[in-house]
Amino acid sequence: MSDHIDGPRSIGDPSIDLTDLFAFISPDNPARTVFAADVFPSAGSSAVFSDAVNHAIVARRVTVAGLGDAAKFQAGAQEIRFDFRFDRLEAQPGSKAGARPVQHGTCTLPGGQTLRFVVNDERGAATPDGVFRVFAGLRSDPFLLAWLVGELKPFQNLLEHDNVLCFLVEFDTQRVLNPGQGSLFGVIAETTPVPKAGSLVGHQVTRFDWVGRTEQTNVRLNNARVKGDDLRDLWNQQTPFAIAPEFAPIFRKRLVDSLHEYDLRDGKEDWSAGQLAASANVFLDDFLLIDVARPTTDTSYLEIEKSTLNGRPHQSGGGRTVNTRDIDILLTWIVNRDREPLQGGATRATKLGLNTFPYLAPPNTELQTVAESVALNAPADKVWALIGPFGAMWHPLIAEIRLTGAGAGQLRTVESIDGKRIIERLDAADHARRQYRYSGVSGMGASNYTGTLEVAPNGEGSSVTWRVQYLSDGQPTIIIRTIVATLQKVGLESLKKRFG
């Protein structure tokens, strides 16, 4: 993952775990720049920001200080900083008990001006002069991870349907960054403890997590095929733009070893020793590069670094848009030095990003799972003989089943005793494993409706597991859940009565 769950410490509180950083020219208005960062990998639909953490996006002006094997990006000292802090939860005024609470936040802008906003308000909040506009809330995870990176094997998007908590600022490029003094910037995001005034006790760490380019920690520093300690927590505690000199050689060596290992993944050596060392040095200065005087596109990610390493001026704005397929770009570069494009097992994230504020797509609906099981005093084969056929009449709430076709794709039309009609399709049956899978065609008021019925040996008896997953589609989730749970419970209880 880009930076998802990137160290032992991050596993403690997912809301401090930075996953991604984006920097791009607004597709809606080329005079405006967007910085966005995400925390909380695989956030559920109710996720909220921690009130104990400062979330920041920081930019510094950068100059190209060397080309080719001497490639170097030198960051300046002055910071352009956006700090996001979040309040404790508040009950919505006049809301009923159990209603979802609301969370407010404050963004401190460069120069100290503050901007209040409401989390999950898609309109965000803007300064009166319109220079700044901010948003924070749950969004569809724009990151596409369609690789088993360890094996370099294309795979389905591992983050399909995932959500993240996003904090984002869009601003007038000219007035905030003054590109006339240099249009190349390095950007990072970080989470740090909120200092407590007058406290005698406190955190030993000054920073929980930070992120620059995609996959510094999980792919480059923590390459599973390179032996050595897990350096991710140590890396996360470094100061962005200023890696501690005593640790720099450790990180540099790991990067060289790791990049060399990636280079050899396809059996061909595309990188010389000098090029590998130069690439490691560039990655060691871990900030996301964006040239705000040039266009950013879905394919311009890493172009600035690549051109510089190749000894020529960059052509694009670099940056990273929300629809960038950055793992494909990164792997192609480090495995074969752009000799041959590598492509993962999916070509887009769950939802494409938007061209307008707030740029990240709305959150994905949570896939609902309802599962029930029962232990029976009968051998698995005997139970399967009763319930295994797709058209078997064993459920007390079912009045009639009509089958159409045979094998995978077979349809069953189920008439319930209260007159409802449900049509389901058999997706796969494995009688040796006593299992079949089916999907809903109509009648349940839900989409992506799939079910699994399975009988497994359990000591001298057996256990039956019936699992259904769906996305609500028209009806409230609770209603569908109640219908499904009732179907499961009544059906499995009838088996208990029959088999003991």
């Binding site: 410490r9 509180d13 953490v53 349907h161 955190h203």
Partner: protein, 392 residues
């Protein structure tokens, strides 16, 4: 051992407890959805184990143990020969105190190539829980806790030190862990404060209720939904006659379904002379304990023993469950509890035999000297000892 000074309870900056609880539930549900879609997805099952254990421990949702068993079964179905499936099966068995099964699965996991660190961690947990090779466990725990960036190793080290009777060092270990806390999640902080409450309120030879209460209050301050901390604090309030305060702690925790909440509410109602309400809560507690024991007998036997030895008033049932617990993990505390149950059930010979067994097995550790079992031997007096409340 006494601690006269006020404990350091200045609150470390942490995510608000309600936010942390919402995010735990949010992440837990999301993890399950990811797991159902792709059980073999790296890291997801492991994350669910952690999230469900936290849900059981901090939210008091004991159905988490059922879900963990589903997880282990599903993973074994999906990857019958994998090290991670065996390791997770071992972790799940351990969490419901099926220690023998956990050891079998752990052996299988190691044979399949499970990561050495994770395997050692689980083996330590198993040995500590069952009272096996404690000196070796202590040495390894000390070494692991001394490693940089292994803050989380300090909690089990503190618990082991407390079990062995090294109370000062346990206190120092917990207190140092509080000072060094590197995160903002309130869960570990609440757990630490809870452990300090247990140490001062229940484990030391001369419990200090006020000190324990302060730590339990701090735990609840970090995490208002922390059911166990509420129950323990309510017990102290109840002993002090502060029934309204105790009730105020327990009523919000009723929705967790933890039978200990109903049990203590029954005690409160009884102390207020409300027999009907006491009977109602007692019935709920009894049903709750029996349901838990039916599903996870080894995990909840010791809790149910405590109930049946006191408000539950069924010494025979207590003895039956104490015997099960002792056979599963012959720790000093299990012996203490079993002996009390045997005496309460009128089985003096059984109690004497267990006392002798305990002396042979545990007289070498410092904690034994403060144990009722040691007092029994020192007095060489066959008079049954009063039941000592033993929290396990």
């Amino acid at each position: 051992m006494t601690q006269e000074a006020e404990p350091e309870v200045e609150r470390i900056t942490a995510t608000a407890g309600d936010i942390a609880a919402i995010n735990l539930e949010s992440a837990r549900q999301r993890s399950w959805n990811r797991f159902w879609r792709t059980p073999e997805l790296p890291g997801v099952a492991e994350l669910i184990v952690e999230q469900e254990q936290m849900t059981a421990q901090f939210i008091g949702d004991l159905a988490a143990f059922d879900r963990l068993e589903t997880l282990a079964n599903e993973l074994i179905r999906a990857e019958p020969l994998s090290a991670r499936a065996a390791l997770i099966a071992a972790q799940v068995a351990c969490s419901t105190h099926r220690f023998a099964q956990a050891r079998e699965s752990l052996v299988q996991a190691v044979a399949c190539g499970a990561p050495a660190d994770a395997a050692e961690r689980l083996l330590l947990t198993l040995d500590q829980a069952t009272g096996e090779k404690l000196n070796a466990v202590l040495a390894t725990r000390r070494a692991r806790a001394a490693r940089p960036d292994r803050w989380d190793e300090r909690l089990p080290l503190g618990a082991l030190l407390a079990d062995l009777g090294h109370f000062d060092e346990a206190d120092r270990t917990y207190s140092q862990a509080l000072r060094d806390y590197p995160d903002v999640s309130p869960f570990p902080l609440a757990s630490l404060c809870f452990q300090l409450g247990v140490l001062w309120g229940e484990v030391v030879a001369q419990p200090q209720a006020e000190l324990a209460a302060r730590w339990y209050r701090t735990a609840i301050d970090y995490l208002p939904c922390y059911v166990k901390a509420r129950v323990h604090l309510a017990e102290i309030y109840l002993d002090q006659g502060r029934t309204d305060d105790a009730r105020g702690l327990l009523v919000p925790a009723l929705q967790s379904g933890d039978p200990e909440v109903s049990w203590r509410l029954a005690d409160i109602a009884a102390s207020a002379g409300d027999a009907d309400e006491a009977a109602l809560h007692l019935a709920l507690a009894r049903t709750g304990f029996e349901a838990l024991v039916a599903k996870h007998p080894r995990a909840f036997a010791d809790h149910a023993v405590e109930f049946y030895l006191s408000s539950g008033s069924e010494p025979a049932r207590a003895l039956e469950l104490a015997r099960l617990n002792l056979s599963n993990r012959p720790t000093l505390r299990a012996y203490e509890q079993a002996r009390c149950a045997a005496l309460a059930a009128g089985e003096a010979d059984t109690a004497a035999n267990w006392s002798a067994d305990a002396c042979e097995r545990w007289s070498g550790i410092a904690a034994f000297r403060g144990s009722p079992l040691a007092q029994h031997f020192a007095a060489a007096d066959p008079t049954p000892l009063e039941h000592t409340h033993v929290r396990t």
